[in-house]
Amino acid sequence: MYKQECYKIFTRKSLYFAFLLFVLFMVILPGGSTPIIQTDEYQTLYEEWRGPLSRTEIDLANQKLEELQNRIDQEMEQTEDLEVVFPPQSIEEQAAFRVYSSVASIGRYIDSFQQRKEDLQEATRGSTTTAYESEEARLELNMLNELGQPFGFYNTTAWGNTVDFINVFAFIILTILIVLGLSPVFADEHSQKSISLIRSTKHGKRKIVTTKILASCTYIVSLFVTLHIINVALEVRKFGALMDGTVPLQNLFLFIQSPFSLTIWQYYAIALGIQFFASLVIGLLVLFLSIVTRNGMLTFFISGAVIGTPFLFRQLGIDQPFIQYVTQFSYAELMRVKGLFDQFVAFPLFDQPVLYPVLLISTFLLVAILTMYLIYHQYKNQQIMN
């Protein structure tokens, strides 16, 4: 039964067509290593500066950057050709500019990080905050203290792209393909008029549901694994290798404010796990709607609306408190993962701050259990009218 249920899903040509289209899009997508990073000049400087940064090193980088900037300014003043806004720089200068400006930026992150800790220290004293706010500040401060000083100069571009893929393209591609692939799982039995045959069989009311869920999970696993393997392969092809995966997560631009003590590699593994869990939860939602609506197309659009609307709210920047709650506790946010880890967010639960990722994952665990129950319940009690 399981084999045939898989066969029903995996023989749908539209899924392969959509998947290939997305892969093609990923292949032709611009991006990759900027040419200067590939040069020997940059690599020499990079090796020289790579690693955790001391205040002296940051000051030195700032000084060198200023000198370089002054030299460029002078050259600009001396040039007679008014059409040339930026005079041509040597490879050495470009490489140096890139390295020093990166180090200088990291210096600013470190300053902000220290400032944040001081602000939190102040908040924990509770002179201007409520008891809950103090508790929340204490939690964040503890997390930041545990981090130590996470910033350094590393080449994390490849990891940055790989991790960001989860947040943007994997979210879109997986969602579309899961909704597209699973919408007909129950609905098609009605449109093909095979439901009467199935439901009158021994296992047609309960085991069939388990089998269809398992087949759907198989589809999700195949899709998920294939998509992420293709992405990693494409990133490796662009950058040569995924370097500096063992450095703290805060060295990725998207996560400079993250309070979580994770390496990039650890975060990637966790993010994949959460996105996989989200894919399963979305899969269950689609299966449930497929039973209720008895129509594949309707399931596709309702699922799309349920998942896409909060994402749209976020993209449009709608910041009403209720909408924000809806957005934060949406399928889309779970699927994108980034929002769970890129900054400190906690919610009060019995007057105690609970971390957003913990609360969101717990919520969706309950949602998954409830959806599973509803799937069995709804299917078992469904009556065939036509």
Partner: protein
């Protein structure tokens, strides 16, 4: 084995599809006869456990089938009036799928699939994609699927619709062969399908059981009520308005017609032996006219 239908009713919003239907069925073939909209399909769906009665209950050997669940469906074979097949599947894949749904183990399923394919004469086409099947072949595959688990209760809704005469005879004989130790309930419009095999006929109209009898008794009930006579073309329409007119056949002497009537319709009318078609006409004349 005893299947008891105990005062079951089914209501859809504002329509009463089945009204306090009661019957007790034991081993043998039962024919459910009635015009379109009589509630046959709804009754069969309730018996197939895919629809719940609004009231009443169905018992198998005194056990409520809604409580028996899997155990009831384990001994059930059902062929609905309308059903679809998976276009990408071939007959073997389709039947193997249903064999697993019916709880047959792999080895038994393999043997049984071959057996039922042979029963419905589809062995040669067993590897063809179902999208290439004709209507009759699909029907035969449906019958094969209903027989897969060697059901003790077989419910078939219009099983011979779309079958050619040869296949219809083949199916009739098949039902006759297997009916000895099981309950078979079949609905049909084609009365010749049940003429020789039905143990009893259940006549349904507007959701109600109006008559339950053996074929012999049904035929007896219209004895001396079936007439054959020759008429001229001009008189035909007047006769059709006044009597239940069955077969109309052109002959050298004019038109030979069959009339079902309590009284002799014409002086030259001859009383003839009734058939099940005459019985149908006698009980459902109004509906038969509407269907025409």
């Amino acid at each position: 084995m005893r299947l008891t239908i105990e005062k079951i009713s089914k209501t859809f919003k504002d329509k009463q599809a089945v009204t306090t239907f009661s019957a007790e069925l034991t081993e043998g073939v039962y024919a459910l006869l009635g015009p379109n909209g009589a509630g046959k399909t709804t009754l069969m769906r309730m018996l197939a456990d895919i629809m719940k009665p609004s009231s009443g209950r169905i018992l198998l050997d005194d056990k409520d089938i809604s409580l028996m669940g899997d155990h009831y469906r384990d001994i059930l074979g059902y062929l609905p009036q309308e059903f679809g097949l998976y276009k990408n599947f071939n007959a073997i894949r389709f039947l193997s799928y249903f064999a697993s749904l019916k709880g047959l183990d792999k080895e038994k399923a393999k043997t049984r699939v071959e057996e039922v394919l042979k029963l419905v004469n589809l062995q040669k086409d067993r590897k063809r994609k179902l999208r290439t099947y004709s209507g009759g072949m699909k029907r035969r595959l449906g019958i094969a699927q209903a027989l897969l688990n060697d059901p003790k209760i077989l419910i078939v809704d219009e099983p011979t619709a779309g079958l050619d005469p040869q296949e219809r005879v083949r199916f009739r004989n098949l039902l006759s062969e297997i009916a000895g130790d099981r309950i078979v309930l079949l609905s049909t419009h084609i009365v010749t399908d049940i003429e020789y095999i039905a143990k009893e006929v259940l006549l349904m109209r507007q959701g109600e059981l109006i008559q339950r009898s053996t074929i012999e008794k049904l035929l007896e009930s219209v004895e001396e009520k079936v007439w054959k006579c020759s008429v001229e073309q001009g008189a035909l329409s007047q006769l059709q308005k006044s009597y239940k007119v069955g077969n109309i056949q052109r002959a050298e002497s004019g038109i030979e017609i069959r009339i079902v009537s309590d009284v002799k319709p014409m002086p030259n009318a001859l009383s003839v032996s009734p058939t099940l078609e005459d019985v149908y006409l006698y009980f459902f004349e109004k509906e038969a006219e509407e269907n025409v």
